[in-house]
């Protein structure tokens, strides 16, 4: 596949995340996607070849393309989420490349939080393993709309359809139970190139798209505009100049849904109402705008609105609450205990809060719940009940990823403690007996 100036026409943007470990062939898959879409250029390849030779390796080590920090190169591991960029004639891609090592649940949560699609890699020889189930659970928890199961190393199992079919069936059943809305299974060999960019000659029994074809054609962000409109106010624009003496606009990015001029709106948490008098996009006035456009709204009435308020259609405004029940992924080194005083950052609003309860901790391997753990430590996923000092206009995360998500922040040093998702997580399983804590998930 070659890139030409065709690419210069307007295309859409897909954000996706990869989950899997080096052993599953993730670096090879990522390297091949980048390489075959001309995103790895000569000087980068030369650098990789040079370093590989210096180390006495026979072939260029594609992982070197993706490991950016010295510690990673020295230890041959990936420490942090890296972002990679490539494009084809049809689409621009942002890949959140998440490491697959011990203690890195938070990295996959991070990558999945902005992803429209997640690629979960499995080794065809090993099939669905604990780690695969964890990846599926994180994708389900973060409500990633599309999941691709890439069954890799098909060349090592003789390209047998039966091997692929049974893995695909097992994974699909598991992920569907968790509520993943769309699962596409693709048999590949990243090393040999089967079904990554080019269709495989070795698997004519497979009639579906290659990984890249699927990435190019999967619908983007339609979920954002299907939800009720939400507009968190970021900033109030008041030029107070001779040219614009009375201009008063509320600047923000539409978090979900569609806004129209003339629509009656309610401002939360105050509950005041008005009508949208005008919508200014970046450079012109329009009658309609939708997520995720950054716009400026003008209202018919001069009411008190500031950063942190939420503007929503009066017909479908969210409720406000000071009692937040949510699932959180703990992302900090310091633990989160019952009674902790924190800050909660929700859309453009940051308020004080107290952690009232931690009802349970979740083990991702088997989705078992451990009641009353007392605290959450790094990479734990658990349920929390938080009381906020001021009301929040919060949606369920299941309904809106952007207005149902929040951060818990340590007020002392500003550390991000936890990534929160309001409302129910996924089909909750019956609580099992408390088991001993397992150390080190090989995420």
């Amino acid at each position: 596949m070659t890139t030409t100036t065709e690419q210069l026409s307007a295309t859409t943007l897909l954000r996706f995340a990869t989950a899997g470990s080096v052993d599953d062939g993730k670096s090879t898959l990522v390297g091949r996607l980048l390489h075959d879409s001309k995103s790895v250029l000569e000087d980068q390849l030369e650098a990789v070849e040079r370093v590989s030779q210096d180390r006495g390796q026979d072939a260029p080590d594609l992982a070197l393309l993706t490991d950016g920090l010295r510690a990673e190169r020295e230890q041959g591991i990936t420490i942090d989420v890296a972002y990679r960029y490539f494009a084809t004639a049809r689409r621009r891609f942002i890949l959140a490349d998440t490491p697959g090592h011990v203690q890195y649940t938070r990295n996959m949560v991070t990558g999945a939080s902005t992803a429209d699609l997640a690629v979960v890699l499995v080794d065809a020889r090993n099939g669905v393993i604990e780690q695969t189930r964890r990846h599926a659970a994180v994708a389900a928890l973060l409500r990633v709309p599309h999941v691709v199961l890439a069954v890799n190393k098909m060349d090592l199992v003789g390209y047998q359809e039966t091997v692929f079919a049974s893995i695909a069936e097992e994974f699909t059943a598991y992920a569907s139970d968790l509520g993943v809305p769309e699962i596409t299974a693709i048999p590949i060999s990243a090393l040999a190139g089967d079904n990554v960019v080019e269709p495989s000659a070795n698997m004519d029994w497979y009639g579906g798209p290659t990984v890249l074809e699927h990435l190019e054609t999967v619908p983007v962000s339609h979920d954002l505009t299907a939800c009720p409109a939400r507009f968190p106010v970021q900033y109030v624009i008041r030029p107070q100049s001779a040219e614009h003496p009375d201009y008063r606009g509320y600047a923000g990015q539409i978090a979900s849904g569609v806004l129209r001029v003339g629509e009656p709106v309610t401002v939360l948490p105050s509950g005041r109402t008005s009508t949208i008098a005008g919508i200014d996009t970046l450079g012109q006035s329009v009658d309609i705008a939708w997520a995720p456009q950054s716009v400026t709204l003008r209202l018919a009435d001069d009411i008190d609105i500031s950063r942190g308020d939420l503007i929503a259609p009066s017909a479908s405004a969210p409720a406000t609450t000071q009692d937040v029940e949510a699932t959180v992924c703990h992302v900090a080194d310091q633990p989160l205990a019952v009674g902790a005083r924190v800050l909660i950052k929700h859309t453009t609003r940051t308020v004080k809060a107290i952690v009232k309860e931690i009802p349970s901790r979740l083990t991702l391997d088997d989705l078992s719940q451990h009641p009353s753990p007392g605290q959450l430590v790094a990479n734990d996923i658990g349920r929390v009940v938080v009381r906020t000092a001021e009301p929040l206009a919060l949606d369920a995360y299941a309904d809106s990823r952007r207005t149902g998500s929040f951060l818990l922040i340590d007020p002392a040093d500003g550390t991000t403690l936890a990534a929160g998702m309001a409302g129910e997580s996924f089909a909750s399983k019956a609580e099992t007996a408390v088991q001993a804590d397992e150390e080190g998930w090989d995420f």
């Binding site: 989420v81 900033y235 950054s294 500003g414």
Partner: protein
Amino acid sequence: MTTTVAHVHDETDAPYALSHLDALESEAVHIFREVAGEFEKPVILFSGGKDSIVMLHLALKAFAPAPVPFTLLHVDTGHNFPEVLAYRDAAVAKHNLRLHVASVQEYIDAGKLRERPDGVRNPLQTVPLTEAIQQLGFDAVFGGGRRDEEKARAKERVFSLRDEFSQWDPRRQRPELWQLYNGRHAPGEHVRVFPLSNWTELDVWQYIDREDIELPEIYFAHERDVFQRAGMWLTAGEWGGPKDTEPVEKRLVRYRTVGDMSCTGAVDSDATTLDAVIAEIAVSRLTERGATRADDKLSEAAMEDRKREGYF
């Protein structure tokens, strides 16, 4: 088992779709407005290079019809291209902005910095930059860095916390969750903010084309006296080149990036229009920095080390 068979269609024709440039623009504007809402004294690093020009353009759009609520800061190495400095000053005047300049030359003259034997001044920018941030009390500093530029930058965050020494510790970065940027910091610390994090070189050029943004002339093909050093065409000038062993020749060249004269190489090109430049970039087999920046080639970890010390 279900396998979805994808149908090929142009998604930009779908209702409520955004082109990739619109999506990137919306994201960058969101970032500018977040900083305006949460910080006391933000500043935009503005060199007159194309990435900082695009940043300024986005900032102007983000707050229109009100003025940009930030000042500008330029770390002047003393070896900048005159065309770029002229552009810088014209842009500042046109939009009625306030520009702070931190001068590497002044630091050298005062004996606070020592000239390197190779005359390359880019690495010398770190001290004037961090001292300007401290002395002027900026709490958010916008940079035009993109994550596609270099491996260490691929790990950079949109909001990148720096301690009171401006140091970057990749292991202590906050995870970047959803679009919730956490900019909390202690007094004396600041946050580097990169609104173009998710843009590629091609995106920047396409956006310049779409928005009809004027650029310094040196981005387009022109005749120039150059000489070859370390595999790059460098401009002859008072900064320390050429040596007697480096013959000067007149060539038709343009610049893909604009930094210090001593380490920014020109590429052979006859692209005199934006369309021609974009067509050249789309088929180029070299990265922007690989082709033209000597300072990043110093070592496998050159950029990482400089970022740790407080470089852009």
